[in-house]
């Protein structure tokens, strides 16, 4: 018989509960009705701030397609629960519907606490909890105008970061003498205050907000603090803590915890055996938890009870946190405040570097109780699982950067490696040993470890290595180095040939993995022509013949058509060439024309005609810039706000021929309607009224991903400078065949880190990257012209060396829709021979 479960609240925890229940309820014993007060289905509230930083509501959604089509789940959005009738087991919704339930789970989360200071409800005062809140904040934020955040805790700093991202002059008011008082101790707080101050935020510690003043129209225009300071401001964002949303409790006769929240036992059950509470609204044995991980454990506990799978109890929670705001690392874990009797504190502060680390140890200095890290939280991933365990090495050792300090081997099996998803070391090694996963991506799928905050990923890598699964960066059997390392070697030594490189830094003779990589690096570092001397033999066949090989051994011809703009004369030339050589002709997805079916000996003649008509190589064959797709822009389009075509042509001509770890595609749209699909490209440029927004890391193909905003409202020169840096940084540091999207994901610190390097020049390499790009642009020559003028290179374009005029007899065509197509092949019977036969 099917029973009905009503879930009140479709937030992070409510959704996790339903997802887990549906994945385990094989017999379909529960029908689920979920009431969500918000307009959006469950989304990643932890990642909420990224909504102001390029992510869309769709990116943040936690809901899969299957969820929407699941016949056993009914999701009612914009609908709140207004009352619970426990006797009749019904819930009345805000739109008056009455729903019967067999089990009821309350997952209503929290509301932001707004201190009742005068003026707290004026227009211009906001909270920071939902997508809707952020929409309003974004709409009302004016760059360079002041904004005040009330509260300097974890959430307050997120809100401050948001106002800063929106370009506002940001003030943070915190009652305690330091930022993040709950997580960070006094010493760490000082370092943090300074680091945040250095970034241009104004921190007001030790001050309370007294009054919020209105201007004549009744909108916020200033705030006075308890120390008498008056701050002019356009906006106030309250982020001074949260309160559980337990307003359904009283009328329903459900008990509340002392500090609010639905009071539940360690099975998350209220006094009514048919009603549970999970997530931030639950006071488990009187205590509320404001993080998502404990909420997930509660959801797990309740699922097991609903499905009669066991009698799991909420195991308590790890309140460790790590965050990276404006590029500043902060982490706190375990007993960060040394509240345990006799606890010892060991502090390492480096004022010059702006780092602070404190470890809290047991009275005999043998057991790690907790700690605080500010400025550099690299050791967090290894330290957190060691809490309440004997120290495997000296405290100094432990604070070395991630992985350097502790080996994961020293961790006991039951240590929790991923605290967000409560995954133990044994869970992970079990999956590795059963060969269900051989890389981090596999571990994420099998165990969920690493899928939330990501701070445990270095540990996952260590565990893989320790279990003998190599996550080696070695390029192939001939080089132990990664592509990025080889790039550095070649750059530093000035080596110009593969043979010298493999002799000095590798072993053996090379293969189809390392040779093209080295060829690409040599090309990026400015070697003359990719077919010069020894280089030719390093290239994949596509690069060797400057054309893409097709299934029957013929090649395609793709001339560059910058931004897709082409004169009728040039179009006619393409048509004439295609007709003369009988080539199959197709418009590509990249706004240009592809001519297919050319035999290798025809390529030079075809290209001679094209080059004479003013065409050049389109690099369709290379790991290089492909196309910069463009919409039509202001010249013609009624909506355009900038000249996208001119911009796209400029970009395509600047970066053409740039050799990279993988192909690079770009797009330019003349307004936010985005007809050029720029956000699906490695870099995308979208016009705004003020200039251009630059997006990076988009991808179509196998793993589609939208590009994310790197910088906004740029003028033309600044835009080019940022793209120069972005591309050169990618060329130098990415792995073989790693598109920009995967590369950004692999960077520690992701987009934030990329932004600090590219926009803020945190590594001090911007000038070097720019001049490398200038050099590339200056030295660019068309590769096809280079071949046509060189008899030796030309001599390689033959099907047979001993019969240069003879076409390859294995190439045959049939006809379809008036054009050629490769004839179906009969595969030759494979020859099998033994070694003896060969040597005989």
């Amino acid at each position: 018989m099917t029973r009905t479960l009503v879930v009140v609240g479709h937030g992070m925890v409510g959704h996790r509960l339903i997802e887990t229940l549906r994945s385990r309820d094989e017999s379909g014993s529960w029908h689920v009705v979920v009431l969500g007060e918000e307009a959006h289905p469950a989304y990643d509230r932890v990642g909420l701030s990224s909504y102001l930083d390029g992510k869309t509501a769709a990116d943040l959604s936690l809901v899969s397609q299957e969820f929407h089509t699941d016949p056993r789940v009914e999701l009612r959005l914009n609908t709140g629960a207004a009352a619970i009738d426990r006797r009749n087991r019904t819930v009345t919704t805000t739109d008056g519907a009455v729903l019967g339930y067999d089990a009821l789970v309350l997952a209503t989360g929290s509301r932001p606490f707004v201190p009742p200071v005068p003026g707290h409800d004026l227009p211009g005062c906001h909270v920071y909890r939902t997508l809707d809140d952020l929409d309003v904040i974004r709409e009302q934020a004016t760059p360079d105008r002041p904004g005040v955040v009330v509260g300097g805790g974890l959430l307050g700093l997120e809100a401050a970061n948001a106002l800063h991202t929106l370009g506002m002059t940001t003030h943070v008011v915190e009652m305690a003498p330091r930022l993040m008082p709950l997580q960070v101790d006094e010493g760490g707080g000082h370092v943090l205050n300074r680091l945040i101050g250095d970034l241009g935020l104004h921190v007001h510690p030790g001050a309370a907000t007294e009054t919020i003043h209105a201007d004549r129209e009744g909108r916020v225009d200033a705030v006075t603090l308890s120390d008498g300071t008056r701050l002019d401001t356009d906006m106030v964002v309250f982020s001074a803590g949260v309160r559980p949303r337990d307003e359904l409790a009283d009328a329903a006769g459900l008990e509340r915890g002392q500090r609010g929240g639905f009071l539940v036992d360690d099975r998350c059950r209220t006094g009514d055996a048919a009603i549970w509470a999970v997530g931030e609204c639950a006071a488990v044995e009187g205590r509320c938890y404001g993080l998502v991980a404990p909420g997930y454990s509660m959801a797990e506990t309740v699922c097991e009870q609903l499905l009669d799978l066991g009698d799991a109890r909420f195991p308590g929670a790890d309140m460790s946190t790590k965050l990276k705001l404006l590029g500043v690392d902060v982490a706190s874990f375990g007993d960060a405040h040394a509240a345990t009797d006799g606890a010892l504190e060991v502090v390492y502060a480096n004022n010059a570097a702006g780092t602070y680390a404190k470890l809290v140890l047991s009275d005999d200095a043998r057991v790690l109780l907790g700690g605080v890290l500010v400025g550099d939280a690299g050791a967090y991933a290894t330290l957190r699982p060691l809490v309440n365990r004997e120290l495997p090495s000296s405290p100094e050792q432990l604070l070395l950067p991630a992985g350097g300090g502790v080996s994961t081997g020293a961790l006991p099996d039951d240590a929790v490696v991923c605290s967000c998803n409560n995954v133990s070391k044994a869970d992970i090694t079990g999956v590795i040993d059963a060969q269900q996963a051989a890389d981090v991506a596999g571990l994420k799928t099998c165990t969920k470890a690493g899928t939330s905050c990501g701070s445990c990923v270095p540990m996952l890598e260590n565990l893989l290595t320790e279990r003998g699964v190599s996550v080696s960066k070695a390029l192939c059997e001939h080089f132990t180095q990664s592509r990025a390392e080889l790039f550095e070697v070649i750059k530093a030594t000035g080596i110009t040939s593969f043979s010298e490189l493999v002799t000095r830094y590798g072993s053996g003779r090379g293969c189809d993995l390392c040779k093209p990589v080295v060829a690409s690096i040599l090309a990026s570092l400015g070697s003359p022509h990719i077919l010069d001397d020894e280089q030719a033999g390093l290239q994949d066949t596509n690069d060797r013949f400057l054309a893409n090989m097709q299934r029957n051994g013929t090649y395609s011809v793709v001339p560059r058509v910058p931004a897709g703009e082409i004169t009728p004369e040039k179009l006619i030339v393409l048509g004439q060439v295609a007709r003369r050589y009988g080539l199959y002709t197709k418009i590509t997805g990249g706004q240009r024309v592809d001519l297919f079916g050319a035999r290798v000996e025809q390529l030079p003649e075809i290209w001679r005609e094209l080059v004479e008509a003013g065409f050049e190589s389109g690099h369709a064959y290379g790991k290089a810039l492909r196309t910069v797709k463009s919409c039509v822009g202001t010249d013609w389009c009624r909506y355009g706000v900038q000249d996208s075509v001119t911009m796209a042509i400029r970009l395509e001509l600047r970066y053409r021929g740039l050799r990279a770890p993988h192909k690079i595609k770009a797009g330019v749209s003349g307004c936010a309607r985005e007809c050029a699909e720029a956000r699906s490209k490695d870099f995308g440029v979208i016009a705004t009224e003020q200039g251009w927004n630059l997006y990076v890391g988009g991808n179509g193909g196998f793993n589609p991903r939208h590009a994310e905003l790197l910088a906004a409202d740029l003028d033309e020169e600044r835009l080019m400078v940022l793209i120069d840096r972005f591309l050169m940084f990618y060329v130098r540091t990415a792995d073989r065949l790693q598109r920009t999207s995967a590369w950004i994901e692999s960077l520690e610190g992701g987009l934030q880190h990329l932004r600090s390097v590219v926009v803020e020049d945190s590594l001090g390499i911007a000038a070097d990257l720019e001049s490398a790009m200038d050099e590339h642009t200056r030295d660019y020559t068309d590769e096809w012209s280079g071949v046509l003028n060189d008899p030796e290179k030309l001599s390689r374009f033959v099907s047979f060396v001993n019969a240069p005029e003879t076409p390859d007899p294995t190439i045959r065509f049939t006809e379809q829709r008036g054009q050629i197509r490769p004839a179906p092949v009969e595969l030759p019977v494979p020859t099998v021979r033994t070694d003896q036969e060969v040597s005989a």
Partner: protein
Amino acid sequence: MKWHRVCTAAALPPEYGVAALLGEDGAAVFRTAGDGLFAVGNVDPFSGAGVISRGIVGDRDGEPTVSSPMHKHVFSLRTGTCLDEPSVALPTYPVRYRGGDVEVGLT
């Protein structure tokens, strides 16, 4: 067996291959770094296309190899065997330097 001239030795640089019109479908002739010479069939048995000579020359555990440019199957230059799928092999031919030329023998 009859020897057929393919090209001058100078036209075949080290770690490189050329195709020769010999027999029905052609042979792929390679010169490796130590001036070793190898000749195998030019038709990739997995696709039926005459492209083996355009593959990248290298070694796997010391065994001289060529990787087919079509779908990257790696073949031993010595035995013609596909190292990724040992039930498949390319034919192999005798090959030699002769008076500044490279020659392939056919029976």
